[in-house]
Amino acid sequence: MKRGKKSINIGGIISAAVITIYTVFVLLDAFVIPRDIVRVEDIDVSRPESHSSLPPETSFFSEPETKEESETLPESQESSEEPFTEPHEPVYTDTYYSDENITINIDTVREHDTDIYIADIKLSAPSYLRAGLANGAFGRNVKAITSEIAKECGAVLAINGDFYGFRDRGYVMRNGYLYRDSMYSRDSEDLVVYADGSFEIVKETDILADELAEKGAEQIFSFGPGLVVNGEITVNDGEEVEQAMNSNPRTAIGEIEPLHYVFVVSDGRTDKSDGLSLAELAEVMKGLGCVNAYNLDGGGSSTMWFMGRIVNNPTSHGSSSHERSVSDIVYIG
């Protein structure tokens, strides 16, 4: 038998150290370290054909609405866009907002043992439906909470977006600028918002991001799936994967008719609300009259922000109400 001291396994120690350090790096790179950053202020987004207004007959604002229990908005929150109809003072309550270009009604319904927040939105021009990026920049792991991004953007109403910065692939176009044109996966369905405000749900395998840009895309969201396409529900519990069948907080956006949209956010993962499956969410969107509806990032990301306050109960830390930092928002303002 061998005698004497047991020698130290230097090779094993070095190997363990290298593997540990590399693993920590991979995790930090995936979840923490910001990279591939493009600042919005450095981008030339001049697109003359963008933000084109629809003919006056499509406007919902020929007869401005008023409410008795209204308040006047601070000047800083007034829209900087050119008014489409005769200007009138913005009026709002906790669940209502109206100015000469935007009308928002927020309703809370309870279905499937879940509180669902529905923002019905009518616009005078498509340019009031916009996207905002965390910290004014595109990039992996560039994050901020929805309410913070909404305030920076001067939003009236906002919901979380597709959290593009959590992935390295998938088309990303925001406010007319194509930030990323790499395909996420064969099954990826994207929401395209065109300059005229119309929605289309496309598969990344069917069309290149550049081609969508040439067709006049203003926004491309890469999360999905599409919930309602051309008036038909396109998901059901039988076809969807496990993640989609589970009840969770959800965020969705839908188009009812030209310049008439809905933002929908459901609670979930709480004692009070179970959450929705994608099929249930699709039923809700269809029931609201959506011609096209699309699932955005959900779970702890699901947040609806309206006039300076959070409408739903975000659950990013277990079941406690807490906003999760996300890459982007969709907002009205």
Binding site: Y22, T23, V26, D29, F166, N246, N248
Partner: protein, 137 residues
């Protein structure tokens, strides 16, 4: 000499059983907080140390020729890399993200396993007929 080598093999076997159990516990705990989202790479992560650690170590308890330290280091590192890579992929899939850096772990882990296996075989061929103590690389 045989007694010592068999003790080493037994120790490695126990360690790999511990790693396998840890992988199962890690999956169960992670599963509890993953809101019903699963990944086979997380669920079956335990299979890697079991198939590439527990079973080979069990076999080495029954054979005379034990792998040397370098061979062991190469093999253990390979198993560790593949196990961690599987766990990371599970974490990323459950979170809904991915990382190209993780793939390097898989490739390096597979390469180290191959090198370790080749080293063990090559050392066996080079072994002198009189060298009955089973020492390899």
């Amino acid at each position: 000499m045989y007694t010592s080598d068999k003790k080493g093999a037994l120790m490695r076997l126990l360690i790999y059983i511990g790693v396998t159990v840890f992988c199962v516990v890690f999956f169960l705990v992670y599963d509890r907080f993953s809101h019903g989202v699963h990944s086979p790479f997380m669920t079956f992560m335990f299979a890697i140390p079991m198939a590439l650690g527990v079973i080979p170590c069990g076999i080495f308890l029954a054979v005379e020729r034990q792998p040397g330290r370098l061979t062991q280091n190469l093999w253990n590192s390979g198993v560790a890399m593949l196990t961690i890579s599987s766990g990371l992929r599970g974490v990323f899939e459950i979170a809904g993200t991915s990382s190209d850096w993780r793939i390097a772990l898989t490739i390096a882990g597979a390469a180290l396993l191959m090198i370790g296996a080749i080293a063990y075989i090559a050392a066996g061929r080079k072994r002198s007929p009189n060298n009955s103590n089973g020492e390899t690389l």
